[in-house]
Symmetry: C2
Subunit: 350 residues, 2 copies
């Protein structure tokens, strides 16, 4: 089958790799990928921000159709259309039951060897072997209409991650919200904040095409300024003190600093940007303002059941973040388009 590998920064190749086979553990499945995509975090190795010491598989967001299941798999069936979160989990351990399946005691990532002795393929390929299929995968009640596929694919990561930013920040009915970051996750965070009842949502964005999606998703205002100027604008807009909730969807020291200093006293920052460069939070600032910080790697598997019905009935249309669609063979161009910000997010069709 075909799979996407990174060989070095900027060097993305789609290559022939061995077909996945069931491990014999009984708990896995093989999924034929219907759609996959490129994540903002895939750009870290692409840009050389994180090192690539040897070629490895890429991709952690995919939806597809189940082709085979192990003998112990009970919930997932051959022929099911399934959504895979960007990680693997069993949904039975204490952390999964606590709603934090990203900390599953028996879970892991895509594109690595799994605890059952087999390989868990990357998502940007033709097929994926899925360990712990009953825990990891969520099947739709029936095969979805083709136009729903991009929306369903966002439940693998960006929509669930935007939702996690909003939930972590404590967004609720009437909240005032600012969203730092206008990538796919930031835009989904706008949508999630609207869904949770925010009364005002400010998208921090300076790109016309992204501002447009933000407004479609429910942003009531757009602020192009950043840093101190952006903070000053937000304070001015919200009673001189800032919005209740700030959703940090970038992951740099600058974006976290901006988020922390934008929230009103007693407010909260929900953060989901993958930390880049290991920024630290100044406790004295948090102590003085009582601004809380909560978030992290989003347990999107725990959110799929909540969000799925609204995607299926058309109330939630997060797939709008895909503004470019390419065949899997053109994965290198997909990375380049996102790296150069020519596309918000690229969908790949095997």
């Amino acid at each position: 089958m075909l799979a996407t590998l990174i060989h070095a920064p900027g060097d993305i190749r789609v290559e022939e790799v061995p077909d996945p086979v069931l491990s014999g553990s009984g708990w896995d499945a093989v999924v034929r990928v219907v759609a996959a995509c490129v994540c903002g975090s895939d750009l870290w190795p692409y840009r050389g921000v994180t090192p690539t010491t040897k070629p490895h598989r890429m991709g952690h967001e995919f939806v597809g159709v189940v082709e085979e299941v192990g003998g112990s798999v009970a919930r997932i069936k051959v022929g099911d259309f399934v959504i895979a979160p960007f990680y693997r989990c069993d949904m039975t351990c204490v952390n999964c039951r606590n709603g934090v399946s990203t900390s599953c005691l028996h879970g892991g990532w895509w594109g690595e060897h799994a605890q059952d002795g087999g390989f868990a393929d990357g998502g940007q390929g033709t097929r994926v072997r899925v360990p712990d299929a009953d825990g990891t995968l969520v099947a739709t009640p029936e095969p979805p209409a083709p136009e729903l596929v991009p929306h369903l694919l966002t439940l693998a990561d960006v929509m669930g991650t935007g939702h996690h930013a909003a939930v972590s920040a404590g967004v609720g009915a009437g909240s005032t919200v600012a969203v730092v970051g206008d990538g796919a996750v930031g835009l989904c965070a706008v949508l999630a904040a609207r869904r949770l009842g925010a009364s005002r949502i400010v998208a921090m964005s300076r790109h016309a095409s992204r501002q447009e999606v933000a407004r479609e998703f429910g942003a009531t205002e757009v602020v192009p300024e950043r840093g101190d100027e952006g903070i000053a604008r937000l304070k001015e807009m919200f009673d001189g003190v800032g919005p209740d909730r700030v959703l940090e969807c970038v992951g740099t020291k600058e974006s976290m600093d901006q988020a922390l200093r934008s929230a009103r006293p007693g407010g909260q920052v929900g953060f989901v940007g993958v930390p880049n460069g290991g920024p630290e939070l100044p406790i004295p600032v948090m102590f003085g303002t009582n601004v809380g910080v909560r978030g992290g790697v989003a347990p999107v598997r725990n959110y799929i059941e909540e969000l799925l019905p609204e995607v299926l009935d058309g109330r939630l249309r997060p797939g709008r973040v895909f503004d470019l669609e390419l065949p899997l063979a053109d994965a290198a161009e997909a990375y380049a388009a996102m790296d150069e910000r020519r596309a918000i997010k690229v969908l790949l069709r095997p």
Copy 2:
């Protein structure tokens, strides 16, 4: 009148100072202090951890009886028994209305010149001029019985601060909780966690007398180990992953690190220890575990109305943290007793 001043590290003196007089603003009051106390944070200048450049007034926790009020004061009346929080606030600005009166736009501290042109005396003295009396002070419905005074005095700081740790950590019915710090605030945090319905409360303490108070306040278990050993004990006690909520009531880098690494994935740290040495929080750790951090300088004024009825009817008896009572004239000995950990907290009677 008499007031307590610090002249240099270790040099606490009770001296004659000018009697307070109303400023003429109309919004202030003069309170005769019935009881005051020494705070753990008073030990920072006493120990030279924070510098003392010139002699200044001390004390920010007091209860007393109103002797005079300005012409515009409406809620507070001469003769009222009042509780003063450890800071001044108007309770009308946007931050006060948002529940964060410690960020009052017109507030300030004790022992400094206030916005109305007058001086706001320190609490460790005979009398205190209170700016914004209607905002800052809370009167009891009637003069309290003398035995209630120590309990009421804790609402000025330590009980409200312990409550803030529990609220900030999200303690609710059934929560499992660990409390880092066995000072007066940590002990009050145990009491607050019990009041909020925690099912298990671990006091991290290695002092027999403090362990005893912790158990009286509702601790179900005591763990004397600290650092990595303490974290390992907590993980072992709670499903291998740690308690839901950790209340950080110390303020050092070590205590915050212990708190952050003790909470289970998806848990939350509520912190109220005054940051000593400006520790920073590692975002990558928080990102990986989804442990939130929330807290800060406790808006105890916003909590007094909620806690006061339970103190008045005897359900809450936080005054148990006072294990030494001295006349105001012996303030220097009060500081020494707390510094040497001979006393948990010292009550001063003018």
